[in-house]
């Protein structure tokens, strides 16, 4: 299982973005470390893709303090959900082209 992600990460960088979106679309919010574990990526790599997604307006970033630690969580925006759903539809159509 794990090797698939690692393999894909090398070949397509955008896989990480897709992974982030896939996780956020089914969870109300996720924090950085959970995403990191889930996608098995490095801090820097994940951070840059998250920034990219935020710039596109697909996700929002919330920073909170829990004691002295910062806790950063991510949420999908309505635009992000729409874009992701359309992407899914496109993929499905690639498999089952409608006549």
């Amino acid at each position: 299982m794990k090797h698939i992600i690692q393999q894909l990460n090398k070949s397509f960088e955008s896989r990480i973005r897709l992974g982030v979106m896939s996780a956020l679309v089914v969870n109300a919010k996720i924090d950085f470390n959970t995403l990191k574990e889930l996608l098995d990526v490095s801090d820097g790599n994940l951070a840059s893709h998250i920034t990219g997604l935020e710039k596109e307006g697909y996700i929002t970033i919330k920073k909170q303090f829990i004691g002295k630690k910062t806790n950063t969580t991510y949420q999908i925006t309505p635009e992000g959900r729409k874009a992701f759903t359309e992407h899914l539809k496109a993929l499905e159509q690639l498999i089952n082209p409608k006549p």
Binding site: I5, S11, S22, A23, N27, L38
Partner: protein, 209 residues
């Protein structure tokens, strides 16, 4: 960057991440088997401690001393066997999580535990009320029904087999609610044998590699 895209693989990947981010996949089949064995042992323990009393006096449970004997026997036994089964589940799942390089205590496992225990504790309290009112016939079937509801509720956060286990438990428990003479069998089957079967299925489906 956009080399050949394999949409099927991409969709599988998306699905896998969705599942992994919402469900605890390290639940081990061995934990189901061990929980089942704990269930079977509990059944025979309680049977050996109560059966002769009912043979002496079928209305044993309605007497004051009978009731207090049952309360003192059944509540600690239920708590102890639940705790033992839970420890086994934790142990085998921790082992499995470690082998899969996954955390044991993540968002999904927390939700799994919370969603399992809320109906389970409610069921436990309800069963104590049944005992207090001497509705002894309904005790075993009710436990099975609530266990099934708890599993069904928790199944959103783990492997699909748990959902089917939950539904089967509910059916068995409800049948025993109507045919209360089947109560002890439903208990043995629901908490013992079914857990074992589900554990074996889970083990061979997810951990044989």
């Amino acid at each position: 960057m956009t080399e050949k895209i394999d949409p099927k693989q991409e969709l599988n990947e998306i699905r896998r991440i969705m599942e992994r981010s919402t469900s605890f996949i390290s639940l081990s089949g061995l934990s189901g088997i061990s929980a089942g064995i704990v269930g079977i042992l509990t059944y025979f323990f309680v049977y050996s401690r109560t059966n002769y009393l009912f043979e002496e006096n079928p209305n044993f449970a309605t007497t004051t001393e009978g009731l207090s004997y049952l309360l003192k026997l059944l509540i600690p036994t239920a708590c102890a066997s639940l705790a033992t089964a839970f420890l086994f589940v934790l142990y085998f799942s921790a082992r499995n999580a470690k082998a899969n390089n996954q955390p044991l205590w993540n968002k999904s496992s927390k939700q799994l535990v919370a969603n399992l225990f809320i109906p389970l504790i409610a069921g436990g309290a309800f069963c104590i009320s049944l005992l207090v009112h001497s509705y002894l016939d309904m005790l075993a079937p009710t436990m099975v029904v609530f266990y099934g509801l708890a599993l069904l509720n928790a199944s959103k956060y783990t492997l699909e087999e748990i959902r089917w286990l939950g539904i089967t438990e509910i059916c068995i428990g409800l049948i025993a609610c109507f045919y209360t003479e089947l109560g002890p069998w439903a208990w043995l089957f629901g908490f013992g044998i079914l857990n074992c079967i589900c554990g074996v299925v889970m083990y061979f489906k997810h951990e044989q590699s």
